[in-house]
Symmetry: D2
Subunit: 307 residues, 4 copies
């Protein structure tokens, strides 16, 4: 594998190449996201020796959106242990366009914690088990990325609530099956808040490096999760992290990954490091077109597939 | 990792432990499968140095059923190249119980080649592109496992045809969307024939070792597929190889795998080798309860997850 | 046909016979309904000459629940005219158990105003078009049944709100498709309030007699709706008024009808009159077992099918 | 009501008006149907006094297609009695576009005998209970319409078989649930044959007059079915006879009716007679645009709704 010192020019080349990709469209379901400049582009690699190599807008914080599902899940796994899996499955979901159909068929048990229904369920766990679920999550995230001023975009948070009718429908449907314990509005508030966390690609790469390092943070040496739980989170990302392109991403890239509609994607390379990419325009599946291209090219160049 | 010479006692221990698992029920939808003795049990590991270590009934040939989907896919990928993926997707399927629902929604394009609809589509490709699709497949399989007398259980083949109404429905539905080119009955005949191939765990482990070895057969040194195609097949198995337990298998074991209702399961360990297990009784998902237990235990003991 | 003066002994006989039916179970999803005495039983016939014949508990007011969908629809038809049918269809729904599936497929346009989703849509129309939708509806109902003290059971209203997660899911799903204009909580509040109206079988029979009389109230001689609109409401009840037993009710009885989970059912006999029945225990489809039996027997005895 | 002697000029006027409707497209899924001249147009009324009044191409025989479902059902009801309803329901189907989804959910029990799955089930009953199901049906139809040379278009029959993949899928799916007893190919052959019956509007009106006459043929005075069974068939047509426009047809016309993709529609007016119309171009629901217009206009002019 490439030694980290040689990474920078390679990342630069890959970022330049990505800028020629002109597919996609910035998420516009809420104004606060629609206003983000389409030409932001960042690529960061954090390797297990602790080095972090970045090109582009890697210091600009953006709305991490669904990437926050990983953080929520970590906290819920820690708090609930195995019993979490009685309330959410770990199977890929198929047909993303009709998540509500699946939820109906499976009596309010979401398919996995990487889809909205599953992350709302996880939010219910957090709201029910922590006296202050937001600050519990925020302090975990700040500690993971070693930066105290990770914040939340309150305009995005507000907007999500106003435009979140579909997520409300998912939550109420789970409630009707008895699979939401707390007050639905409080659960949704946590969920929308969590989606509005803002981080840079460097924050993301650093904070998730433990997933590539058998559960241990390479910077602090702290064991964040067990090796087994790190593998399990990677497994969930592999089958379900990229919306309805998860299979295609496994097929063409072969790395556990999670994307968000803010344009960010993180990919885990076990025993190597983390790749984090950001570019706002999304393809028709809701994944950032340029971020996907950057990660695919980098993985191919470095031969990084797990398969 | 364990050196191969130490494997035998470990496999023996794992097989003994598996015999205490008493879940499951031998497939009984056709008499020819229902009559197989429930207490057969075999475990084989083929490593990349060419050694093959087995315990239990590893010399008994059994009906490989859905494991044959890998062989059919290989032949279709070779023949069609990238254009294959216009007729079958590469996404996990979710809701297996209603594969026909999914096929209807997605206008006759199956979700992936690891589910029945996808393998019937692959059979259509083979029937349409080979003058003798069965012998083309059989000679590929014989060559892969270095055994000339790999055969087909003609009773199983006949029975499958008689009890295959659901597969017929899938095939006719794809035909109605224009996604089956050949005669439906001929396509189904190939499909049912392919499911009736009989192999031992040793045959399976040997024949699929190239998938763990970047596409190259470790015995003959022959490049069977490109490295990239080997990774792609592994990716498909990872997201879709274990029916509606694929996510759970990734979560608990973390290896690309494919099971069949004959009770066999193969798991690929990139850069290490292949594990093949067999025990007829199936759990409620259609996966062999003991084969799953053996592979999970072995993977955990040897630390073999890809994640 | 029977002359009205001979009806009483016949109704008495039919009510006695119904008391031998012991299927069903009182609705228990909210305490306020679960507490209603199971052995209440009432049968009323209002004919077009203005006579009203009753047996049993015809003076006891009960929760009319889904029968209120007729009143809501009348008001929305009056206010919106033909444009109402751009936001709700007029087709039977099939598969009642998955109304949410259908709503997803049909992009938030409910199948008809007789199912919950459709009646919630109608509530949105009322809330959006009336400054005080509840009092508008209440005064219409009071005027229709010529009784000023028709009221609402506020305990039922509160309970419905607390246990209405599924209806909330339907409302938010429609909102996510842009088919709810007003505030979702306000729409649901109207809907749950409307379900909590309490009326007697005599109130119901009297208030809907115009549907059997070409739109004209036989008591006041007032034209309530056009003949055409009376026929249209009857048509909607015929195809969709009895939940997933609508087809069976048409097949075995052959009259437009609407039932509610409070145990009430009204059936319209064009050019003859209205039958209203009440008995709380419900069959598995949510229809009152005894009310169905009474209406079926009376219709058969009097030869009242429209077909 | 209009006396029959005055009908002809009214029918003439209505047919002329219909000719100005230019929506729709002749069924083209099989060549034999696609070749039918688009400007054929016929309208017939048979009243219970035995008179038959026609305008347009009422002597031209056309492919009755799904209208044959009524004849098949009559024969199956006669043969099976109440036990028929254990194998097919009597509920409207909703979502016609996914009949196969519904069949999957409801475990191979079709929603009603007016949709394809239900009529294939009925064909299974006929094939299983008659030594010669085709001639049994043909002689019933000939006797009903008092014309011995009613025939079958063998080109249509052949074409339907060749293009009937979707119907094959429905049949095999029901078979997989154990709800088809005979050989699937034989069942489908009967079904496709039955769809290929050719009749004129006069044949249709005459042959179904018993449905408007309490089960008795007004010409021969013969009791064809019980009054109750005539009402039941009318009820099924009311809720399910016009594909996914059944609700709309009830709403706007209010008569039991059945249409076929050959362009024919029959409507039953209890205690009055039968209206039969024919014009090949179909609207997007598969119903003849002009036939619908003619029946709607005639019903409105004569005030013929059942509601």
């Amino acid at each position: 594998m490439h030694a980290p010192e040689n990474l920078k020019p390679l990342l630069q080349e890959i970022l330049q190449q990505a800028l020629t990709v002109n597919d996609g469209k910035v998420a516009d379901y809420i104004p606060a996201l629609a206003e983000v400049k389409a030409d932001y582009c960042a690529l960061t690699v954090a390797t297990l020796d602790g080095s972090v190599t970045s090109v582009g807008d890697s210091q600009v914080a953006f709305s991490i959106q669904s990437i926050s599902k990983i953080f929520g899940l970590m906290l819920a796994m820690e708090r609930m242990g195995e019993s979490l899996w009685e309330r959410v499955q770990m199977e890929p979901s198929g047909q993303p366009f009709n998540s509500i159909v699946q939820l109906e068929w499976e009596k309010g048990i979401p398919r996995n914690p990487m889809i909205n229904a599953g992350a709302i369920l996880v939010s219910d766990v957090l709201v029910s088990h922590f006296s202050a679920s937001k600050s519990a999550l925020l302090s975990m995230v700040r500690s993971l990325c070693h930066r105290e001023n990770v914040g939340v975009d309150s305009r995005v948070h507000e907007s999500e609530r106003e435009h979140g009718a579909r997520n409300s429908a998912l939550a109420y449907l789970m409630k009707s099956f008895g699979n939401i314990e707390a007050d639905v509005e409080e659960v949704l508030d946590h969920y929308f808040w969590q989606c509005a966390l803002t981080m840079t690609t460097e924050d993301l790469a650093r904070s998730l490096a433990f997933l590539a390092n058998r559960g241990k943070c390479p910077l602090s040496g702290k064991q964040i999760t067990t090796h087994r739980d790190a593998q399990r989170i990677n497994a969930l990302m592999s089958t379900s992290g990229m919306y309805d392109q998860s299979g295609q991403f496994a097929f063409t890239v072969g790395l556990p990954a999670k994307s968000g509609v803010g344009g960010g994607i993180v990919a885990i390379v076990p025993d190597y490091g983390v790749i984090a990419a950001w570019s706002p325009p999304l393809n028709s599946f809701g994944n950032s077109a340029r971020s996907m291209a950057m990660i695919r090219n980098l993985a191919n160049r470095l031969g990084l597939s797990v398969y």
